[in-house]
């Protein structure tokens, strides 16, 4: 008897399992894997930006009936840790999407692993154009890569050039500037580009130098800049000790104003961390509590209320990335990677930074109305003011205290 019904029982069990499996998959949460440098503010804000968006979306019932869940992995600031983090998230956790990245060198090392895992990666911190170039060079294997934030370093270089020509030369009448960048992948192309174009624009660039991110004493460079007679020192720093740089500049009262890209100076507490010695430093940013779009101030206030601190640039990028993915899944009505990629390519999303759209390289587009670079200056009492572009400027640019004209 048992022999006779055994095949029937086995068949029924298999059928039940087959029916049950898709049902369980539908109930399963959608896993978002966050690979970032957990020890840094940019990393912590990536996670907090993601969590904020996830809580909002889950409160509204999730996406296609499924809740979103977050799992994190520390990629530190080294390629080795980055690759391990990506492999953990895609292999052990089997996440549906990766969100994060900060160091371009680390992200570049992760790319083959992301491609092999066939997992969508929404970049929120790395700026090297080489990352998205992969999409153009080998779409089939690298279609998974999207850069939500920031705009890439080539576009940031173009923006810096606009700052040099429009603000430094045009408004302030400077004729001589020096350029100083840390020796990192994303800066290496930027400095020659800036030097060449600034010279063509009629500015003299007596000094354009790189330095090791481990540099602890900037006195020689300040002496050289001072001796060169430069009126402004354009800086490009991300991993370097910009706190040391700013403190030594302020303490020596170097008679040259500084500004450019200083990623650590984008932190809301940077001014306090350097004992107020960042006064008058200008740095790029992407979001501030200013009416860049209708969402900017409400989003900023919600973040501050939730976490009791002001966000850095990765927070808004990470927050947006969750929404972009959720909306793409909702439109595709599935988490199938290829279907979601097709929908992500059609993205048109209004964020706190501007409108987010992707170009053919899956690169966030800049330009009027889109995500753009703003130039923010540390002013008295640690207040931050937008000083460029002219259309969104909120205050006049100030000089360092020891250079103020009476």
């Amino acid at each position: 008897m048992l022999k006779r019904i055994a095949p029937v029982l086995a068949g029924s069990a298999l059928m039940a399992a087959a029916l049950a499996l898709p049902a369980r998959a539908e109930d399963k949460p959608i896993l978002l894997g966050i690979n970032t440098a957990l020890q840094l503010q940019v990393g912590r804000d990536t996670i907090d930006g993601v969590r904020m968006a996830v809580e909002e979306i889950n409160a509204k019932g999730g996406v296609i009936g499924r809740k979103l869940e977050v799992v994190t992995a520390d990629e530190g600031e080294s390629p080795k840790e980055g690759v391990a983090a990506v492999n953990k998230l895609t292999g052990d956790n089997n996440v549906n999407v990766l969100i994060g990245g900060y160091d371009s060198g680390v992200t570049l090392a992760e790319l083959p692993h992301i491609s092999r895992a066939q997992t969508i990666f929404l970049g929120t911190g790395s700026a090297s154009p080489a990352i998205q170039q992969k999409v153009k060079d080998d779409y089939a294997n690298y279609k998974y890569l999207f850069r939500v934030n920031p705009i890439n370093s080539a576009k940031q270089a173009a923006s810096l050039l606009d700052f040099i020509k429009g603000k430094l030369k045009g408004e302030l009448g400077y004729s001589k500037i020096s350029i100083l960048g840390e020796n990192a992948k994303w800066v290496q192309d930027m400095v020659p580009f800036l030097k060449k174009n600034a010279t063509e624009a009629g500015l003299e660039v007596p000094l354009a130098e790189f330095f090791d991110p481990q540099t602890a004493d900037f006195s020689p460079i300040f002496a050289k800049v001072k001796d060169s007679g430069s009126q402004y020192l354009l800086i490009i720093l991300s991993h370097a000790a910009s706190d040391v740089f700013v403190k030594q500049w302020y303490d020596a009262k170097v008679p040259v104003a500084i500004g450019g890209i200083d990623v650590k100076s984008q932190d809301a507490d940077f001014f306090k961390r350097v004992g107020g010695k960042a006064l008058s430093e200008v740095t790029t940013n992407f979001v501030l509590r200013k009416p860049i779009t209708e969402k900017s101030i409400p989003w900023w206030d919600a973040f501050v209320q939730k976490y009791n601190r002001a966000p850095v640039y990765t927070a808004t990028g990470a927050y947006d990335a969750v929404y972009l993915y959720a909306e793409a899944v909702a439109r595709a009505k599935t988490t199938d990677t290829d279907a979601v990629i097709k929908e992500l390519e059609k993205t048109d999303f209004l964020s706190a930074r501007g409108r987010v759209k992707f170009d053919a390289l899956h690169e966030v587009q800049d330009g009027p109305g889109n995500v753009n670079v703003i130039y923010v200056q540390w002013q008295n009492e640690g207040e931050r003011a937008v000083v460029w572009p002219k259309e969104v400027a909120t205050a006049k640019m100030i000089d360092p205290p020891w250079m103020m004209k009476n």
């Binding site: 130098e209 790189f210 004493d217 460079i221 002496a223 403190k247 004992g275």
Partner: protein, 285 residues
């Protein structure tokens, strides 16, 4: 030219302070102390905590920080290093490395990886013939020279200094003469820790106060004592001047980027041409 002279003097003085503490404990107790950078970091973090969290006046915080780190050095020698003294030297080396790593991780857990700010003792800046120098750097220079001078006087003109010299020259013989070499080792470790902490306190206002801040000074101290000769205080001072000025000349005349490779190149060259360093005799105080 004047800027090279001034900046080179400041950096050399701080390097000398770092290297002398490092070579002192090697010269006396034959301990290659890889936790030396941790003493430097602890000095900076102590003064940060005392000034920022407990609002202790800066000068008092600096003195307390140096004393606390000296006590930490003594405790480390008594509890962690002394029991390993009879084992092969590698055991002590590994223990000091473990202490160095542990201190860094604890600082990371407590303070996070972001740089902390230590205010300057002297806020004004000075102009020497067109060369701008912050007051804190000037203070670091004079304090370093004073500490090194004080150390020399202490070693040459006190009974304890003589006992330290005796132990460094012949520990067994010193013991037969009634000098408690174990206690001398503890005192020297405390002294070495205090000097490193003083360097940390002096440079913290113009350097990055981060958990890993001890690594680079350890590498520099190591390079200097290899150049100068392990265990030799005059060698360390000469090595510090050599390295400090070479780095400054390279930074000014070539590129700041190349200055970082100087210490590694100096070590390689000295190891090839004079493996024992310039003053590389045993206990050549």
């Amino acid at each position: 030219m004047l800027d090279i002279l001034i900046y080179g003097a400041v950096i050399s003085a701080v390097y000398a302070l770092l290297a002398v503490g490092f070579t002192l404990i090697f010269g006396v107790a034959r301990i290659l102390n890889l936790a030396h950078g941790a003493f430097y970091a602890l000095g900076a973090y102590c003064v940060y905590t005392l000034t920022s969290n407990l609002h202790v006046p800066l000068i008092i915080a600096a003195i307390i920080a140096v004393l606390l780190v000296a006590l930490f050095g003594i405790a480390m020698e008594r509890v962690l290093v002394r029991p390993l003294r009879r084992l092969p030297p590698l055991a002590v080396l590994m223990m000091t490395l473990a202490v160095g790593l542990m201190v860094e991780q604890i600082l990371l857990l407590i303070f996070g990886s972001e740089a902390r700010n230590v205010p300057s003792l002297v806020e004004s800046s000075f102009n020497f013939g067109g060369v701008l120098l912050s007051g804190q750097r000037l203070l670091a220079f004079f304090c370093s020279v004073a500490i090194l001078g004080g150390l020399w006087l202490f070693m040459q003109h006190t009974r304890l200094g003589a006992a330290i010299l005796a132990v460094s020259q012949d520990p067994e013989g010193a013991r037969y003469m009634g000098i408690p070499s174990d206690r001398i080792f503890s005192i020297v470790m405390g002294l070495s820790a205090a000097i490193a902490a003083a360097a940390g306190v002096l440079v913290a206002p113009f350097q990055s106060v981060i958990p890993g801040m001890g690594l680079l000074p350890l590498v520099k101290a190591f390079a200097i004592v290899i150049v100068g000769g392990l265990g030799s205080i005059p060698g360390s001072i000469v090595g510090a001047l050599l390295l400090g000025y070479t780095e400054t000349i390279v930074a000014f005349k070539a590129s700041i980027e190349w200055s970082q490779i100087v210490s590694v190149a100096a070590v390689l060259i000295v190891l090839i041409i004079r493996p024992a360093g310039f003053f590389g005799k045993r206990a050549a105080f």
